[in-house]
Amino acid sequence: MRLVIALPFLWLGVFFLLPLVLVLGLSLGTNAPDLAPPVELGVSFASFRLLFTDDLYLAAWLSSLRIAATSTLVTLLLGYPMAYAIARAQPRRRPMLLMLVVLPFWTSFLIRVYAWMGLLAENGILNQVLRATGLVADPGTILGTEWAVHLGIVYAYLPFMVLPLYVTLEKLDWSLLEAASDLGARPLAAFLTVTLPLSLPGIVAGCLLVFIPAVGEFVIPDLLGGTRTLMIGKVLWDEFFTNSDWPLASAVAICLLALLVGPILIFQRHQERSLERI
């Protein structure tokens, strides 16, 4: 019994707490290119100071938050109608529709992002179709822009929005909407005053599930965004692998974590509140 309880703590200790302490330790060290690993341990806040004074990092933070926020919003606007339609579909059709939502997971994430490169490249499928049909004579290239990054994030994270939304919408008692209609609410008013507030837990969960990983996303901005897109996940990668500045990379990681703990705490508070209500 005790072993069973201890096991998850052991797991978290070895695979979460220990690496976290290591990263924290590294972030307080100083860069030493001649050593292997290239770090001199100590207590120096130089890396953190650099993060908050250098414009590059500030710009990367801001654009990461902006891209994650707009992508999350688009994902919500796309995912809500999808989840709503699935929740209102005939019960026997729902498992199939849900499977279609998670179907992309059956292919490797990396391969799917590469597929988008093939679609969006200068001579990619999209531009070929546009030229062949004569719709647009001289289409620009989407690949390598922030548009492509948004597209990639929305595409990759849509299931994480749809599933929690589906769970709350599926539980919704539809007779409440009839009651709203009976009391004089037009369909839009009924949606805004009944469906929307009652699906708020799903909206919050879905948004955090998309927003949190999107802020630190590295693969999508690197492959689809090209050199012009600045995101903090990419900065972290560059500091670590290109510049071999482990302390600075670790400091970026610690700040990212600190930034994301806020939304997570809000999420948990919200969950507790909605549980109390039920």
């Binding site: 007779s175 009839e178 009651a179 209609s181 009976d182 009391l183 004089g184 009652l198 039920i278």
Partner: protein
């Protein structure tokens, strides 16, 4: 009927292959407490939902207060409904639930507050305005649902099995309460119920439904004493149904029969053996097997406290009934 509040003309509704409502004609007068009574699947709930506007009839016309409402959506009808599940909004408190319909009308803040307070007072929930539905008892929830439906002063209040979710003791009190409210407010109530006792005791008139059609409409007294068919006689209360001729039956209520030791001086009489006695406190039910005839049910009131033991199982008894004690039926 002059100037009925509700007029249904040949209303039909099918769901796939099932005909839920089959050509119903019905008129309901202003200020009536009208009950739709029938077993499950008889179409009474569909008829109520057609009145509310949640379903559109396949054919026929629905006129409410002189206006054709056949294709009008629920949110534009001068009708409110109390749902069987109550359908209270879980994210709003009691006052918020009651105010919901008034807000949709665009009523002013002061007016809303006043009318909500008035409606909550009407159902005696003045002090619970700030509670959430999840913090209420079943009886209190029922009252909130009633207040929410009443506060808009509908021309027609529809009640779907209003007492089904309450326990037996509470049901009786609430029944009287609802009749009192209906009379006090002068509203027209249409109640759907499967409980014949409920329908009989509340309604000024009721319609008995079967297979999507109305079998009989009348006052509780008419329905009970003069049932139109064997189905109604059997469905409402208990009746002995005796075949008197080919395609002719006599429906005889157990309490209309005299039980005696020797032939009673009634127009009709028969003798038989007591098969079973069910003592129910206020009355006793006897099952008597008529010699060369059917088993008949007879009820006697236990007026005297020490009357126990007048008859035993196996005793030979006489049953008697007057000429006009039963209803002659031809279907």
């Amino acid at each position: 009927m002059s100037d009925p509040i509700v007029k249904l003309e040949g209303v039909s509704k099918r769901f796939g292959a099932v005909t839920a409502v089959a050509g119903v004609d019905l008129e309901i007068a202003r200020g009536e407490l009208f009950a739709l009574l029938g077993g499950s699947g008889c179409g009474k709930t569909t008829l109520l939902r057609l009145l509310a506007g949640f379903e559109t009839p396949d054919s026929g016309r629905i006129v409410i207060d002189g206006q054709d409402m056949t294709g009008v959506p629920a949110y534009l009808r001068p009708v409110n409904m109390m749902f069987q599940s109550y359908a209270l909004f879980p994210h709003l408190d009691v006052a918020g639930n009651v105010a919901y319909g008034l807000k949709r009308e665009g009523a002013g803040k002061a007016e809303i507050a006043e009318r909500v307070a008035e409606a909550l007072a009407l159902v005696k929930l003045e002090n619970l305005g700030a509670r959430r539905p999840s913090q209420l008892s079943g009886g209190q929830r029922q009252r909130v649902a009633l207040a929410r439906a009443l506060v808009k002063r509908p021309k027609l209040l529809l009640l779907d099995e209003p007492l089904a979710a309450l326990d037996r003791k509470l049901r009786e009190g609430t029944r009287f309460e609802m009749v009192r409210l209906q009379e006090q407010l002068g509203l027209t109530f249409v109640v759907v119920t499967h409980d014949q006792e409920e329908a009989m005791s509340m309604a000024s008139r009721l319609a008995v439904m079967k297979d999507g059609s109305i079998v009989q409409i009348g006052t509780p007294h008419e329905i009970y004493e003069r049932p139109a068919t064997r189905f109604v006689a059997d469905f409402i209360g208990v009746a002995n149904i005796l075949q008197t001729a080919p395609h002719q039956w006599l429906a005889l209520r157990p309490e209309k029969i005299v039980l005696a030791g020797s032939r009673p001086p009634t127009a009709h009489a028969a003798t038989g053996k007591v098969v079973d006695i069910a003592y129910e406190g206020d009355r006793s039910l006897f099952r008597v097997a008529i010699d060369n005839g059917p088993v008949m049910l007879v009820a006697t009131m236990n007026v005297a406290r020490n009357s126990d033991g007048a008859w035993r199982r196996g005793d030979t008894v006489w049953l008697g009934w007057a000429d006009d004690a039963g209803q002659v039926l031809d279907e």
